[in-house]
C-alpha cells in the first residue's frame, strides 16, 4: 500500500515538475508565442495611456530670470501649467535668455565654426524628468507666448532617478523640425507627430531656436503621453532606417584604422592606380573637397581606403571643430580617437557634450593636453564634467586662449576660476550662471554670485582699458558710482548690457554720463530700467551715432524710431 502510494506520488511529482518546466519554457520563448495567440484572439488587450506633467527640470542652457527666483525661470516648466490657456507675458512661465537675432548680430558674438551642419538649429535646451517611464506616444508642449521655437525633442533611455545608472545611455530623436514663427503670438499646444522608440523613457530633452520670433518665447508645461507596455506595433514594423541616423559616426571612430577597403593590398604596392582618379588629383584639392564634409561624414570617409584615411586624418581638416551637434554621441572613446587628428586645433566647441558620464574629466584633460597648444577659442557651455583639474589643464596648456565660454557650468567650484588669471590673452570670457565669487584681472562677467559689482567694475576700469563688450545683466548692486568709473576707464566700450541693474537711476545722471563718454557705443541694453527718460534718449541720440541695438522700457515707439535713424533693432517693452 505505502510503497504504491510513494511510487504514485513520485510519479505525479515528476510529471508536475515537467509540466511546470515546459510551461515556463513556453513563456521564455517569448513574445512569439504570445503573438501567435494574439493573432487568434478577436479583441486586442487594452493598453492604458499614461499622461504625465514634468516632475523636475534637470538641466537647461539659460533662462531669463534670476537664479533663485520663480519669475521667468526654467523651474516653472515642472508641474501643471500655471498660465495656459491664457496668452501673454507672464512671470510664471519658463523663458530663455535670448530671442531673435539680436545676440547673433552683436560685435561680441562668436563666429560660427565651420562644418556646422545646416540641419543643426538648436540654440538652447532644457531637460525634463517625469515620474514614470513610458513608451511615448505623444509629447505636448504648452507654449503661452510667441510659440514656434521648439526644434527638436529627444528621449533618453536613462532613468534619472535610478540609483545605479547603466553604462550605456542612448538618446533618440522623437521629432525634429525647423525654427518657425507662428502666425500669431497666442498660446498654443504644440504636439508634433513623434517617432516610436523601442525603449521606455522618462527623460525628455527639448531644444529650441527662437531666432525667427519677435519676442521671447514662453513655455508653461510639457505633457508626456505614453504606454507602459511596449506597443505591439513596434515588433512588426521596423523603424524606417534613415541614412542620416546610421551615424554612430563617433562610435565607429573607435575602430582605429578599420579600413573596410578591399583594395588595400593593391594600394600598398602600386602607389598609382589603386584609387582611380583620386590619385591624379593634387593633395590640396582633395583636402579642399573633403573640407566641405561634416565631421561624422569625414570620419566615415576615412574608412574607405588608405588614401582617404590619410586625407581625413590630416590635422589641417580639424583646425575648427564643433562637436556640439553630436553631443548625444560624444564620449571618451571618441575624444581619444580624434586626439591624433586634432593637433592643430584652434577653435573647439564642445558645448553640451559629455554629460551623464559620457566624457570624464580625465579623458577631457588628456585630449586638451595633446591638442590644446594652439587653441584660441574654447566653448564649454553646459559641460558638467568639468572640474577644477580641467580648468587648470586648460589654462596651463592653452596660453594663447582668447575666448572661453563656461556658461552654465554650475558644478565648478569657485576656487576653480582662479586659474583663469593665467590666461594673458583672454578677450572674451563668459561665466553666465557659474559660481564665481572672486575677481581677477581682465575678466568680464555675466550674472554670477558676486556681491559687490562696483568693485568688479572699478577693477575692470583700471586694468581692462581696451574692453569692448561688457555684460552686466542682473548685477543688482551696481551703482552709478561704479558705472561712472567704468565709463571713465573703458571709453572704447561698444556693447554694454545693463539689464535689470535695479540700482541704476536715471536721476543720478549716470545714463547721460554714459552716453557722453561712450562714443563708440553700438549696443546698449537698459532692460527693465523704469527710470530712463526722454533726456537720456536725446543724449544717446546726440552722442552715439553708431548705435544699432537698444533695449529700453517705454511706450512710444514712434519717437524712438525717428530719434535713432541708424538703429537696426529697438526693443521697447510695449508696442
Amino acid at each position: 500500500m505505502f510503497p504504491m502510494l510513494t511510487l504514485l506520488s513520485m510519479f505525479y511529482y515528476i510529471c508536475l515538475r515537467r509540466r511546470c518546466r515546459s510551461g515556463s519554457r513556453g513563456e521564455s520563448l517569448g513574445g512569439r508565442r504570445a503573438l501567435v495567440d494574439l493573432g487568434q484572439r478577436s479583441t486586442l488587450p487594452v493598453t492604458v495611456e499614461v499622461e504625465q506633467y514634468a516632475k523636475e527640470v534637470l538641466d537647461f542652457s539659460s533662462h531669463y530670470g534670476s537664479e533663485n527666483s520663480m519669475s521667468y525661470t526654467m523651474w516653472n516648466l515642472a508641474g501643471v501649467p500655471n498660465v495656459y490657456p491664457s496668452s501673454g507675458d507672464f512671470t510664471q512661465t519658463a523663458v530663455f535668455r535670448t530671442y531673435g537675432r539680436w545676440w547673433d548680430q552683436c560685435v561680441s558674438s562668436p563666429a560660427q565654426i565651420r562644418r556646422t551642419p545646416p540641419s543643426f538649429h538648436s540654440r538652447d535646451f532644457l531637460e525634463l524628468a517625469f515620474e514614470e517611464q513610458v513608451y511615448p506616444t505623444a509629447v505636448e508642449v504648452l507654449e503661452t507666448y510667441h510659440p514656434g521655437a521648439v526644434v527638436q525633442i529627444l528621449a533618453c533611455s536613462l532613468n534619472p532617478f535610478t540609483q545605479n545608472p547603466p553604462a550605456d545611455v542612448r538618446w533618440e530623436v522623437l521629432w525634429s523640425g525647423e525654427p518657425t514663427k507662428a502666425m500669431n503670438p497666442q498660446a498654443r499646444q504644440f504636439s508634433p507627430t513623434i517617432r516610436p522608440i523601442n525603449f521606455p523613457t522618462n527623460l525628455l530633452r527639448l531644444e529650441v531656436n527662437s531666432s525667427m520670433l519677435e519676442y521671447y518665447t514662453e513655455l508653461d508645461a510639457v505633457v508626456l503621453r505614453g504606454v507602459r507596455e511596449r506597443p505591439i506595433l513596434a515588433l512588426y514594423k521596423m523603424p524606417m532606417i534613415d541614412i542620416s541616423d546610421l551615424s554612430d559616426g563617433e562610435e565607429d571612430l573607435s575602430e582605429t584604422g578599420g579600413a573596410l577597403c578591399c583594395r588595400s593590398a593593391a594600394a600598398d604596392h602600386k602607389h598609382s592606380l589603386g584609387n582611380g582618379y583620386f590619385d591624379k588629383l593634387p593633395y590640396e584639392l582633395i583636402q579642399v573637397i573633403i573640407s566641405h564634409l561634416a565631421v561624422p561624414d569625414l570620419c566615415r570617409l576615412g574608412q574607405c581606403c588608405k588614401l582617404l584615411q590619410q586625407h581625413c586624418s590630416d590635422p589641417l581638416q580639424y583646425v575648427q571643430l564643433s562637436l556640439q551637434p553630436y553631443w548625444s554621441r560624444l564620449n571618451d572613446a571618441s575624444l581619444a580617437h580624434l586626439q591624433p587628428r586634432c593637433t592643430l586645433l584652434q577653435r573647439l566647441n564642445m558645448s553640451w557634450c559629455g554629460n551623464r558620464g559620457a566624457v570624464t574629466a580625465a579623458g577631457f584633460c588628456s585630449f586638451i593636453r595633446s591638442c590644446g597648444m594652439s587653441l584660441v577659442c574654447l566653448e564649454l557651455s553646459c559641460c558638467h564634467f568639468l572640474n577644477e583639474m580641467c580648468l587648470e589643464v586648460i589654462c596651463a596648456t592653452c596660453p594663447r586662449l582668447q575666448e572661453l565660454d563656461l556658461s552654465s557650468c554650475d558644478r565648478l567650484q569657485p576656487q576653480a576660476f582662479t586659474h583663469i588669471a593665467k590666461l594673458a590673452h583672454l578677450q572674451r570670457l563668459i561665466l553666465y550662471r557659474t559660481k564665481i565669487e572672486h575677481i581677477h584681472n581682465h575678466i568680464f562677467y555675466h550674472e554670477s554670485f558676486i556681491e559687490d559689482y562696483d568693485v568688479v567694475v572699478s577693477l575692470l576700469a583700471a586694468r581692462c582699458r581696451g574692453l569692448v563688450s561688457l555684460d552686466l545683466w542682473r548685477c543688482r548692486n551696481l551703482s552709478e558710482r561704479g558705472l561712472a568709473e567704468l565709463v571713465a576707464g573703458c571709453a572704447g566700450l561698444e556693447e554694454l548690457d545693463l539689464g535689470w541693474c535695479s540700482s541704476l537711476h536715471s536721476s543720478s545722471g549716470c545714463i547721460q554720463l554714459l552716453c557722453r563718454r561712450l562714443k563708440r557705443l553700438r549696443k546698449l541694453f537698459l532692460t527693465a530700467n523704469r527710470t530712463v527718460c526722454d533726456n537720456d534718449l536725446e543724449q544717446l541720440a546726440a552722442n552715439c551715432p553708431s548705435l544699432e541695438h537698444l533695449d529700453i522700457l517705454g511706450e512710444d515707439i514712434n519717437t524712438l524710431t525717428s530719434t535713432f535713424k541708424n538703429a537696426v533693432m529697438i526693443n521697447p517693452l510695449w508696442h
Binding site: M70, S71, T91, S507, A528, R530, T531, L553
Partner: protein, 297 residues
C-alpha cells in the same frame, strides 16, 4: 533610597510617555475665509480670495499650513493705481511660493521678503502698497510662526481667551507699515517699508486652538469681547461650521462699521489721540478663521 527614587522616576516617565501619544501626530489647520469689500464690489474675479482692496490666501504644503492677509492701501486710487492689484498679487505669489516649497516654516518673514522680491521681477512692476500678515503652522513641531507688517494681524484663542495676538505697526495714526512699489519719480516720497521690518513671533499651539487672522477692517470695528462671543458659538471643527462662524463675524463687523453712533475700537483710539469721533470705520473686512486639528489627508 536614591536608587528607589530614580527608579520611580524612570517608571513614572515611562508610564507618562506611554500615555501621552499626542506628540507624534502632525497638526493641521482647518481654515475658512469670509469678507466684505468696502463698496460691495467683488471686483474682477482673481485667483485667490479678494475682498475689495484686501486679499488673502490659504495654502497647504507637506510640512506646513500657511495663511496670509494683505490690506491694499486705498490712497493709490487718487493717483490712478488700482490698490487691489498689489495686495492680490502679493498674496498669490506667497501662495505659489508655499505650494512650490520655497520657504522655511520657521521663517515667515522670508516668505514676505521672497514674495516682495518676486513682485519686482515683473518687467513692469506693479504699483501700490499693502500691509501683510503671514501665519505658518509647522505640522510636526506644532509651532505657529507668524510675521506681521502693518495693522492687519491675528489672534490665538484658547479656552475662550486670547493667548496670543499681534501688535499693530504704525508710523502714525492711520498710516501702517506697508510694503510698496512706487513709480520711479515718486520713490523718495512714498512710504515703503522693508519686509524685514515685519514683527515675527513663534509659539506652541494645541489641538483646538482657534486662530483668527484678519485685516484692520475687523479689529477696528469689533472689540475682542465681541469676537470671543462669536467664537464661543463654534462647536465643531469641520469646515462648514468654521465657514459659518467666519461669516457671522465678518457680517457683524460689517454692520457695526456703518453704525454712526457705535463706539468702535477705531473711534476709541481716535479719541485717545485727540480726535472727537464716533461710529464704525467703513473698510474692507477680511476674516480668516482656522482651528488646529489633527492632520488628515
Amino acid at each position: 533610597m536614591l536608587s528607589v527614587l530614580s527608579y520611580g522616576r524612570l517608571v513614572a516617565r515611562a508610564v507618562i510617555g506611554g500615555l501621552s501619544q499626542t506628540d507624534s501626530r502632525d497638526y493641521s489647520l482647518v481654515s475658512a475665509s469670509f469678507g466684505y469689500g468696502k463698496d460691495f464690489r467683488k471686483g474682477i474675479f482673481k485667483k485667490g480670495m479678494c475682498y475689495g482692496d484686501d486679499a488673502c490666501f490659504i495654502a497647504r504644503h507637506r510640512s506646513a499650513d500657511v495663511l496670509g492677509v494683505a490690506d491694499g492701501v486705498g490712497g493709490w486710487r487718487d493717483y490712478g493705481v488700482d490698490p487691489s492689484q498689489f495686495s492680490a498679487t502679493l498674496m498669490r505669489t506667497c501662495e505659489r511660493l508655499v505650494k512650490e516649497g520655497r520657504f522655511v516654516p520657521s521663517n515667515p518673514v522670508g516668505i514676505l521678503t521672497t514674495s516682495y522680491y518676486e513682485l519686482l521681477q515683473n518687467k513692469v512692476p506693479l504699483l501700490g502698497s499693502s500691509t501683510a500678515c503671514i501665519v505658518v503652522l509647522d505640522r510636526q513641531s506644532h509651532r505657529l510662526h507668524t510675521a506681521n507688517l502693518g495693522d492687519s494681524g491675528f489672534l490665538v484663542v484658547r479656552g475662550g481667551e486670547v493667548v496670543h495676538r499681534s501688535d499693530e505697526q504704525q508710523h502714525y495714526f492711520n498710516t501702517p507699515f506697508q510694503l510698496s512699489i512706487a513709480p520711479p519719480e515718486a520713490e523718495g516720497s512714498v512710504l515703503s517699508d522693508s519686509p524685514e521690518a515685519a514683527d515675527s513671533s513663534s509659539f506652541d499651539v494645541q489641538l483646538g486652538d482657534i486662530i483668527l487672522t484678519a485685516t484692520d477692517g475687523l479689529f477696528d470695528n469689533m472689540p475682542d469681547y465681541m469676537i470671543l462671543q462669536e467664537l464661543k458659538k463654534l462647536k465643531y471643527t469641520n469646515y462648514e461650521s468654521i465657514q459659518q462662524t467666519a461669516k457671522s463675524i465678518a457680517e457683524q463687523a460689517h454692520v457695526l462699521a456703518y453704525d454712526p453712533n457705535y463706539m468702535s475700537p477705531f473711534a476709541q483710539f481716535a479719541n485717545d489721540n485727540g480726535l472727537n469721533v464716533r461710529g464704525g470705520k467703513p473698510d474692507d473686512i477680511t476674516v480668516l478663521l482656522s482651528i488646529v486639528a489633527e492632520y488628515t489627508d
